[in-house]
Symmetry: D2
Subunit: 340 residues, 4 copies
């Protein structure tokens, strides 16, 4: 059993913990929090030993009826590998302690590529992470772009990509971040930094991205235009997507035309937390122009798509599965997940 | 086994179907839809026979890969009781056909009291529905008001109630209804119609309500002020709430101060669809003034609180449980539900 | 003086009325409403004779203290030209009566091209409307696209355009339309109908568009990618925009990165209703790729950009100005409008 | 001429500057900013000398084409009185420098009562500020509560007040603050701090308030319930409101039922920035219960209602008008403002 610790039991961390706990070859040896919160109670309920960043706060937790197992250092002693899911920018500072305790570590997309030197997406570059000590799972948006671009590139060759990402302003459980009523260019400059981030996984892709933030919580929406090198057809592309274990299709017949209806469907399917681990391509949007330009919309569940990637990253780094296919299959099956 | 049909498999209907299917003494003999949709696929997946309002549309469903069992009349032939969860105002027109097929029927809060003559909340007036043919389960807001007012009334006597309801503009899966950026008085006039609706269940309560709609999807929020006849204490009120099977407490130590964080918690608890069947009283808000005025905030999950009430209404009407306590216990246990 | 009637005194109509009233060569002879409302009081205050669609409702208006001048037919008798700003789809049915009363007519973008046979944007095809009886001013989005594409096309030649439009869900004064929390593909299919609509004004442009709706009220946002035929530079493009009378530049130094801050600026500038009649290109977004692809973001104030186009259309149809330049100059000066 | 400086030219400061500039007995000698922004350009355009907090940033402003007159200390040398409209909590620290430069000062509601020792609302306690050196104009919400409570108290005697404030999450020009999709209790505890804040102006009023934040930008909404000591009638109350120079009535016949439509009306009226300096009571909401409980809804334009109060505070402190009536009349007339 691979002993996994999750440092930072928040939006991403709590999902990674549950996904790890569901795997036959992994166990959660601890999760960490900084403050009492609804999530801390959940950690207790799930039976995940709860460690805290600052042990002096132990009485505060206990007064709230939350059991504390120790501090983060103790957690690190117990694990083979740590998934760092602290807020963006915080994780970097933890590298020293991970080295000190000699544990492998995975960071999230809120950290820079340099923190690990290897940026990861299981469908694209599983082998790069094989046996590695430090890996960064790219952000939710980059994950979504990498999956579909790599798929198209393998099949048809991708000459260039232009994508606009319309991003959710806040996660559904957030109450502080806005905007309330605005479309915010983030960044104003074109291209945005998302293209270069794709290049940390797929270095040869020619990509220009633009991004904005809007007042919604459920998912990001990507508009993608790719110039393909070889002839493609709409049906061919849809077939490829259908076979991909991490990209799903939003059927035209479902009548679903939005992010909200899509999350409603996931919720109706009894997915835990209504999570969509797959990229969701709208069937009716897929079209191929006369010069082999491929167009499509895909919705990305920001809280979920990277979760399964973290599980695969663990396997790659621990050499617990030799190929991406093998790990992806194990991960998906353990979650009862087959793409919509 | 009580044979239950659900006419109108939408926001409320799909939840009632799952709750009924979970009961040891009930089974879902059919659900109905008017158009192919994400929900129709779910009905098939769950194994609920899917009936359609207009049988001429059968080919449209089948082309979308959705199996159809027949028309609504055939569904009515198979059931002892039908839960009508068609959109507000539509249900009334179905009464004639329910009478024709000689089935008992339950309507939702979108219909007027007169459609059934009995308005129902299991914690308040279970006995009124005992053996009845037609019952209306009151709306989500009225359900939330009835539960807490009746509890306070039994314990302390309620001299008067003043409540403001801040309502969600649209359900999370909705994309058409607004507002986008407005506070809408609905109605502008004071008092609103919600007070008289409470009186259909609790006829003697002196209540004034006001209501508005805001751009949010997750839950309604109620501010309640009750003048109590007998002396009350904050701790006493909290104790009463803790014992109530359908009212939960949002712990101060959880740090939760909003509707969004509360739904996040329900989602983390793996509640199906993140549903909160209970009214959710914010612990830190409960306070008692010098003249025995009780103040509190409670959040109401509009899509969920009436679901368990529908299950109890079925039992009352079918005389399948003699008391509210018995039915509530069965309903809650079958769902694995104990209030937060 | 050109006698102008405005049929449909709503979001667009009330702005056109004020813009017409400000012109030295035009006067408002009447505006029309169907129901008493805040806007009806404003018409009275401004001194615009108020006509009503259904004269039987006169008492309802008068009881509300709103003076009524007569019915729409009487209004049509008094005017040379009517601007139809009734809700999308309603205007078409009015054509017969305009023909009957022998008045020239302008429709808005909510009507199909066929209603008039000429679709108009003053910077692009003023001459097509010269002396015409029926003209359609294209929608706010199409107006925004036409202005910038035509500008680039004249200067550099436009080989192809790809644009994504992120549209506001509701106008700020609206309370019914959503979405509250969703990104809605509208339409799901790619390309959207906006490209062909651009072609009604600029028939030779090769354009693919995609569109979605988000929960905001202030403005639409366009991401535009154009392949240019001839070499272009960022500075060259910015210079062209600076000289355009209907396209403004959102200065980088202003720190403005959103639609909301932009409307705040217009409001601070004391523009009536905070209106931005110009397309607003974000200076920092303008960039030119290695293959002469031009990228930029522009914000479009949906309620305002077509207003000045309507004024120019009146002049063209009435032969009151011989060239676009002349009319645009008159319109802008009368409004005290010079692009940001 | 009273020489007025505005320290902090943001949402409130820019409005106070324009209102001061419109007064016959006052002039704006300077406004201050910390960073280049859209508002800094506006200050230049209006001809308000622009001072900056940190003079080392002068080149940054000048590079952006914004003229700088000097630093804040120089501004203070030129004025008789300073209106501090820096962000909440910042203003307090400025007290020392105001004392040093021997200028009178006004703070806003984001500061505590203690900063000035006198909390002000011109309709309630003008005389308390007469000749004073330091005054705090209470917050937008407290201003709204004070106006109506004092009016009712003078006419009927107010025995108790219970009010719920549904507050906007962000100002319309804001892009950072949320929530996006939540109702946030702020605070969770009942009563909120707004009641005691009313008591800084009206010390004897018995008041309990509750407050929450919702995802909207335009206005706050107050639900108010007052127990009156003496018999009141709906018409009597409406008459009183009609005569009040700072409370307006939203006519039932206007069809306006929301905050958004109300701001649209103000915008249509050509109010600068669409500002509603008056509290806006919804005519149809005003009702009186059998025990003389007065109920009403009022909308409060958070950015505007305190602006006119600042102008009156200046006159009181400078002894430029002897009574509230006199100052209010001057202020309103100079702005062309009569309540809706
Ligand atoms: N939320 C998303 O949509 C999303 C998507 C993909 C990637 N990411 C990335 O995942 C990472 C985590 O983001 P998140 O949204 O889950 O954040 P979050 O704020 O929801 O959770 C962070 C958790 O870390 C804990 N924490 C904070 N400081 C800590 C410390 N010093 N030590 C230990 N724990 C600490 C907090 O208690 C919290 O539970 C970031 O890099 C982010 O960019 C987030
Ligand atoms: N959504 C809520 O928050 C909520 C809460 C409490 C009570 N209610 C009440 O529950 C009832 C249902 O509301 P909902 O929100 O579930 O509506 P919904 O629109 O989500 O679902 C209604 C369903 O009825 C089906 N339908 C429509 N017309 C039909 C017909 N003629 N015959 C059969 N089926 C038909 C539709 O296909 C749809 O699936 C209403 O009375 C409503 O007022 C709703
Ligand atoms: N609102 C926008 O952002 C926008 C932008 C560009 C173009 N348009 C187009 O402008 C047109 C008007 O749109 P709007 O947003 O101003 O609509 P609106 O609903 O704000 O106003 C329409 C007005 O027409 C009146 N009306 C309705 N039926 C009528 C009838 N039969 N006869 C006379 N008057 C009638 C209504 O009272 C209302 O005042 C539509 O074609 C729309 O597509 C709208
Ligand atoms: N915005 C509202 O709705 C509202 C309503 C009533 C009262 N208030 C109160 O008014 C005050 C100002 O709020 P606001 O909303 O106008 O804030 P804001 O952030 O819009 O404006 C504050 C301005 O102060 C400037 N500033 C910041 N630090 C400064 C410093 N050290 N020295 C000089 N200038 C500085 C900023 O550049 C900015 O222009 C606060 O006390 C607030 O609580 C605000």
């Amino acid at each position: 059993m691979i002993k996994v610790a999750i440092n930072g039991y928040g939006t991403i961390g709590k999902r990674v913990a549950d996904a790890v706990a569901a795997q036959p070859d992994m166990e959660v040896v601890g999760v960490s929090k900084t403050r009492p919160s609804g999530e801390a109670y959940i950690a207790n309920e799930r039976g995940y030993p709860l460690y805290i960043a600052d042990i002096e706060k132990k009485p505060v937790f206990e007064q709230a009826g939350i059991a504390v197992a120790g501090d983060v250092e103790e957690m690190l002693k117990k694990c083979d590998i740590v998934v760092d899911a602290t807020p963006g920018g915080v994780g970097k500072a933890n590298k020293a302690i991970y080295e000190l305790f000699n544990v492998k570590a995975i960071w999230q997309g809120g950290e820079k590529h340099e923190v690990a030197g290897i940026s990861f997406n299981s469908s694209c570059n599983y082998e790069d992470a094989y046996g590695a000590d430090f890996v960064r799972v790219v952000s939710c948006n980059t994950t979504g772009l990498c999956r579909i671009i790599h798929l198209a590139d393998e099949a048809y060759g991708v000459k260039s990509v232009f994508s606009t990402m319309v991003r959710r302003g806040s996660d559904p459980g957030g109450i502080k971040k806005g905007p309330v009523d605005a479309i915010v260019l983030n960044p104003v400059t074109i291209p945005s930094h998302h293209g270069p981030d794709v290049n940390t996984v797929l270095p040869t892709i020619d990509i220009v991205t633009t991004a904005m933030i809007v007042p919604t919580t459920f998912m990001h929406m990507h508009v993608i235009r790719m110039e393909l090198a070889r002839e493609a057809s709409r049906d061919g592309v849809l077939d490829l997507i259908r076979k991909h274990p991490r990209i799903g299709i939003v059927k035209g017949a479902s009548g679903i035309t939005s992010t909200a209806e899509l999350r409603e469907l996931a919720s109706d399917m009894n997915r835990p937390r209504g999570d969509l681990w797959e990229s969701c391509v709208y069937e009716d949007s897929v079209s191929v122009g006369t010069n082999n330009e491929l167009y499509l919309f895909q919705a990305i569940h920001q809280e979920a798509d990277v979760v399964v990637e973290n599980v695969d990253a663990i396997r790659a780094m621990m050499k617990a599965a030799d190929t991406a296919e093998e790990s992806i299959k194990m991960t998906n099956e353990a979650l009862g997940f087959s793409a919509i």
